[in-house]
Assembly symmetry: C2
Homo-oligomer: 242 residues x 2
């Protein structure tokens, strides 16, 4: 998280506002990619959480998941409106990310309520870590939007509480969910690497575009490592070995 501390909240690291930065077509394309991925991610998170709500053991849990899904949709709406504001077509901008995200979801379809909770918790956290890392390389306006959208929607504490209760009630649950957590992380990294390989503008932003200093492919590897480390810590919080 060093990058985050030295950049995200720090005006010294500012590369300027959107108007200044977007004059560079490469930068503009990269940010549209990023917002498109984030927007489809939110829409997709909405769908998955709404689907997982069906597994809920009771009405209060069902409503809790519906509440999170609804929060994700509000985030989608912010991103959609921003894309329209900067003259982009949201559908077009989201399209390249439909397949990778749907692949991820297909490969990690939860088979029950607890797997769904762990996925919501872990998936959301991985996405948040990634976007916070990237945020330091963004113009002020885009960074503010990204950080706002990645604000906690309440998944974390809810999932942690429910999963720990389940493990306390039946220790064998822990082994199964630990395996599940590893699979989630593996699939997330696999799809992220696929996206990086396919989206030139986005990759350029990650490895250092015109407005970015001191970032290279080794740094991308380090970023993935930091996200993996954070995942390991989160699994421990859930009471799971990673």
């Amino acid at each position: 998280m060093e990058t985050q501390e030295s950049g995200a909240g720090n005006p010294i690291g500012s590369i300027g506002d959107w108007t200044a930065c977007a004059a560079d077509p490469g930068y503009r394309a990269a940010v549209l990619d990023l917002l498109g991925a984030l927007a489809y991610g939110e829409l997709s998170a909405f769908e998955r959480l709404a689907e997982d709500a069906k597994f809920a053991p009771g009405l209060a849990d069902k409503a809790a998941l519906a509440r999170m899904a609804s929060a994700e949709f509000q985030h989608y709406q912010l991103l959609h409106d921003r894309l329209v504001e900067v003259g982009a077509d949201p559908t077009e901008v989201m399209s390249p990310f439909v397949e990778p995200l749907e692949s991820f979801h297909r490969m990690t379809a939860p088979s029950d309520w607890l797997e769904g909770l762990v996925k919501a918790y872990v998936g959301d956290a991985i996405a948040t870590d990634f976007y916070r890392e990237v945020a330091v390389r963004l113009d002020d306006d885009t960074r503010e939007l990204v950080l706002r959208v990645m604000a906690d929607t309440g998944h974390a504490q809810f999932a942690v509480d429910r999963v720990r209760q389940a493990i306390e009630a039946d220790g064998r649950v822990g082994g199964r969910l630990a395996l599940w957590g590893r699979r989630l992380m593996g699939e997330a990294l696999s799809q992220a690497q696929r996206v990086v390989a396919q989206r030139d503008a986005l990759s350029n932003l990650l490895v250092g575009g015109a407005h970015v200093q001191g970032f290279d492919l080794v740094e991308v590897g380090k970023m993935f490592n930091r996200i993996t480390e954070a995942h390991t810590k989160r699994m421990a919080v859930l009471g799971l070995a990673s």
Copy 2:
């Protein structure tokens, strides 16, 4: 809709505010039933719309359905908060309505995008008609909440546009959807009658409780007829024979 015009917006028909009316335990029980049915209806509508979003032919349509689902959830939240405010347990109050609503949804699971749209449109409209009819028999505070929650969430025009386009493109679609609309209305009436038969307090409110004048079983039958007539008109707006 005569009842609506002569009552809903008319202070002359007022039976007082919640505090005054809820002193009668029968009235209080009836309103908790009504709000419970409405709350679970909204949660259930959220789930169904979110599920139907999967059938959407494109990202813009998917987002439109997710937006409606999210609006239903906001309504659920208002009802939930109101139930807590009057000292009721939302889960307990919703419980009696889970089975009838799930039965309705099980009997009317849409097999494609268009059936889902017609169901969202017709189902929402039937519910709105019913609650507007009931609203005239409610205290001022509850009536205000019910009317606010039943406000259009944008289903109507969206569904009408999409269904008419589909019928224009292929006339045979109309016959299939007309049959579907009749089935939806039949199942809705069937479940509504089941609920009326099972919930004494709610039925008393419908047929005339302590605070209600001039309403009897014949009036309940007339109410169902008015709702059926309104359904017929709505099917015609969709371009379907009912």
